[in-house]
């Protein structure tokens, strides 16, 4: 069949590309680029949510004052061991990345990224109020700490559980297919439903967990209002909720591993747990990186679980960054201050996105 071309409408590849990209770029610019820069712009203003809506002139430019008010304080000093926990882990991280690089176990970029993260962990927690000093906002850094703790618990929790489930449920039997669907189902629920289910589960009066504890002669734990358990409770709910996607990614990764490897392994007596450890795990390295980085970016944005299950309590132990931003913007109407915190969160997540980009591009060593 002869190719027909509309006379006069011949497009070069470049023109076609531009035309095809325009709709996406327009949406992207209007709904992502513009709001982002507007957010940064708002963060440089004293901007009351309601007052500005009624009188656009009710805002005033304050430069970086919002950032200072949120992150800095009066008479702040730095000490090498001001918060030993974080800082020692940071030091160990710096050493470890140097050693791994020297030993050839980590690529240049990986070692650099790890080293940089460790350096930040050593430097940032070192700031503290000196004598007579205080943070302008004494809740901000503890809230950042809670968010990091949440990410630190939820990400390994999700990754390990999802990987074990994927390994167990990889196969063609009907039962495995049903179980795969069941484990994925929780992912499709909204955060309100998930938190409602888990509030009932954790309830000391009617909850399944309390009933089980009582069955074994224990007294029920009041999960959501006990200082030591509240964070664990929202982490457990989160793991249950966000297993699905990670499990599917791992399943895809596992199915990519050549069956020959397992057959060869079986000849050397490597089956079951041994095969998982020596064959599955090393071959999942890339998938693990993707899952971990995606989960980190996702869980830094935790909001619903803390907002709906514990209200940030008790004593702020489950107060997380997005909830603080939300409260500052909508309860306190301080949009400028909230935007400054949001920009801070963006920087953290941007850092991890760059890390993922770098790790994804790095060739297998």
């Amino acid at each position: 069949m002869p190719r027909q071309q509309g006379a006069g409408f011949a497009l070069s590849q470049r023109q076609a590309a531009v035309i095809l990209l325009v709709p996406f770029l327009t949406v992207y610019a209007v709904f992502l680029i513009y709001p982002f820069f507007k957010g940064v712009w708002i963060s440089l203003h004293d901007w009351n949510l309601m007052a500005v809506a009624f009188n656009p002139d009710a805002k005033s430019y304050v430069g970086l004052r919002n950032y200072e008010r949120v992150m800095w304080g009066h008479n702040i000093t730095w000490g090498a061991l001001a918060s030993p926990g974080f800082q020692i882990i940071g030091l160990i991280g710096i050493l470890a990345s140097a050693l791994l690089y020297r030993a050839g176990r980590a690529g240049k970029v990986t070692a650099l990224a790890m080293g940089l993260a460790a350096l930040l962990l050593f430097v940032l927690p070192g700031f503290h109020p000196g004598e007579g000093g205080r943070w302008y906002d004494r809740r901000f850094w503890p809230t950042v700490g809670n968010t990091i703790l949440f990410v630190g618990l939820a990400v390994p929790g999700v990754t390990i559980t999802a990987m074990l489930l994927a390994a167990a449920l990889d196969g063609e039997t009907r039962a495995k297919a049903v179980l795969r669907t069941l484990f994925f189902l929780s992912q499709v629920l909204s955060v309100t439903v998930v938190t409602l289910i888990w509030q009932i589960m954790f309830s000391p009066r009617q909850g399944l967990i309390a009933n089980l504890t009582e069955l074994f002669g224990g007294s029920p734990i009041v999960w959501l209002t006990a200082e030591g358990f509240a964070m664990a409770a929202i982490v457990i709910a989160t793991i249950w909720w966000s297993l699905g996607i990670a499990m599917i990614l791992f399943l895809a990764g596992i199915q990519d591993i050549s069956k020959d490897l397992y057959e060869a392994g079986a000849l050397d007596n490597a089956t079951g747990a041994k095969a998982f450890w020596y064959i599955t795990l090393p071959n999942l390295k890339r998938t693990i990186t993707v899952v971990v980085v995606l989960q980190i970016i996702l869980h830094f944005q935790v909001f619903g679980q803390s907002h709906l299950m514990t209200g940030g309590g008790p004593n702020d132990t489950t107060q997380v960054l997005v909830r603080y931003i939300y409260q500052t913007a909508f309860r306190d109407s301080e949009l400028g201050r909230a935007s400054a915190m949001a920009v801070f969160l963006f920087v953290i997540m941007g850092g991890f996105s760059i890390l993922q980009f770098v790790l994804g591009r790095e060739k297998d060593e």
Binding site: N48, L49, M50, A51, V52, A53, F54, N55, A58, R134, Y136, D137, R138, R139, S203, P204, R205, V222, L224, T225, A226, E227, L308, G311, G312, G313, P314, N315, D316, T317, Y326, Q327, F330, R331, D332, S333, E334
Partner: protein, 426 residues
């Protein structure tokens, strides 16, 4: 074809001309499916208010009322975001304590000169109700109730502990007596004396505030926070002595504390006026748990009577009055309808705001009404502030830290003092 287009346009115009004026309505109080339009039969806040709204929708000619979906816990955030986005509901409920925040930026319509024409008579409102909806000498809302913290009492448990005289509970008059009564109930029945939501909503805060006011103190004065005081320590220790002695459980949230009371596991529940009809209905059921239910005024443990109180009121956004006079007129009709049904709203247990309703036989005949008549005289709240919500959250966080996490009273009060001062300084 031309005729068809003209015909269709004419029909559309006719249809819009006769279509009812839609008024969107924002409210909290929770959901009620199938509330119906019988304002005398519904039970509980959610169903009573929805039945009044449904009745307005059915009765008012040319007006249709559309209740927007809102979530109680995030209600004000939603309303503020709607205002900021230029799409506030046509009418919405709010608390008296939020008036400074909304009225100070001109968000609420001035209703002063339009009420009478809409059939609302402000002279029938109690003085305190008029004061609640007045900002800078202008009326910016229609009051719906006074509500306050009450002592909901299980008479069976109190009687077992010898704490009933002449059919009414004996209430403590000092922190020491408070502890004695609690011990007596525990010894006689094995049950807790007191239950309340000390772990979720700020009901525990309201209890401590009442005990603070009873000593003539308050949490701030003008621009100065006054939280870290001996009076605050007295108020807190009056409560924590019960927790420490195992006579009350600070870890119960709203639902759990209410359930404990209804199950007969606590002699007293501190909660608001909004549950009187619900608890009456529960007590009337022929089952285990709460049977003889009594409502008492919040007792005076220190020098003067005081209990936390607030008001629900309805407001119309200022932009509606300025830009959509037809919708504004319809919104006023809705408010007039709600005002006319003040007696039905009072069935919840709330105190009415209209003098004519307060003096009516129907009002006096409401269940338990004669048991908490003293509450109106001791009703109090913190000083007005545009940062009311944030201040309540600080107090809730720090007080909960004391009884849930063992934070020292000194540290909690110092932190609360610094945080509230920080809010007042902003």
């Amino acid at each position: 074809m031309k005729h068809a287009i003209i015909g269709a346009t004419a029909l559309t115009l006719l249809a819009t001309g006769t279509m009812a004026q839609e008024v969107t309505l924002g409210r909290f109080f929770g959901d009620c499916e199938g509330a119906g339009t019988d304002t005398k039969a519904s039970v509980g806040e959610a169903c009573i208010i929805q039945s009044i709204i449904n009745a307005a929708d059915a009765t008012l000619e040319g007006v249709s009322v559309n209740t927007l979906p809102t979530d109680w816990g995030n209600y004000y955030d939603q309303i503020k975001a709607a205002y900021a986005g230029g799409t506030p509901p046509g009418v919405h409920v709010m608390h008296r304590h939020r008036v400074p925040e909304f009225a100070s930026i001109g968000a609420l319509a001035d209703l002063t000169d339009d009420l009478e024409a809409a059939g609302i008579d402000p002279s029938d409102w109690e003085a305190a109700a008029l004061e609640a909806v007045t900002y800078n000498d202008r009326i910016i809302g229609v009051p719906m109730d006074f509500h306050a913290n009450l002592w909901h009492v299980n008479l069976d448990l109190m009687e077992a502990a010898g704490l009933v005289e002449n059919g009414a509970p004996v209430l403590p008059s000092s922190p020491e007596e408070f502890l004695e009564h609690a011990r007596a109930v525990k010894e006689a029945t094995g049950q807790d004396y007191l239950a309340a939501d000390f772990a979720q909503f700020p009901i525990g805060v309201r209890v401590v505030l009442a005990l603070l006011w009873q000593q003539g103190a308050n949490i701030f004065d003008g621009d100065t926070a006054t939280i870290d005081t001996p009076e605050a320590r007295n108020a807190i220790s009056a409560i924590t002595q019960l927790f420490d002695a195992g006579l009350a459980d600070p870890q119960l949230n709203y639902a759990d504390s209410q359930q404990a009371f209804l199950n007969g596991e606590a002699a007293v529940l501190v909660n608001g006026t909004w549950v009187v009809d619900f608890y009456s209905a529960e007590a009337a059921k022929d089952d285990e748990g709460l049977n003889r239910y009594f409502v008492a005024d919040f007792p005076t443990l220190f020098d003067e009577g005081a209990t936390w109180a607030d008001s629900h009121m309805w407001a119309i956004p200022a932009p509606l009055k300025a830009n959509a006079p037809d919708t504004y007129a319809a919104a006023l009709q809705v408010l007039a309808f709600i005002n006319d049904h003040n007696i039905d709203w009072a069935r919840t247990g709330h105190m009415a705001v209209r003098t004519s309703v307060l003096n009516s036989a129907e009002y006096a005949a409401l269940p338990h009404r004669d048991e908490y008549t003293g509450t109106a005289d001791i009703a109090r709240d913190t000083p007005p502030s545009v940062r009311y919500g944030a201040i309540q959250d600080v107090l809730n966080r720090e007080l909960q830290a004391i009884w849930l996490t063992g934070k020292s009273v000194d540290a909690a009060l110092a932190d609360a003092q610094a945080d509230v001062q920080d809010l007042l300084d902003r």
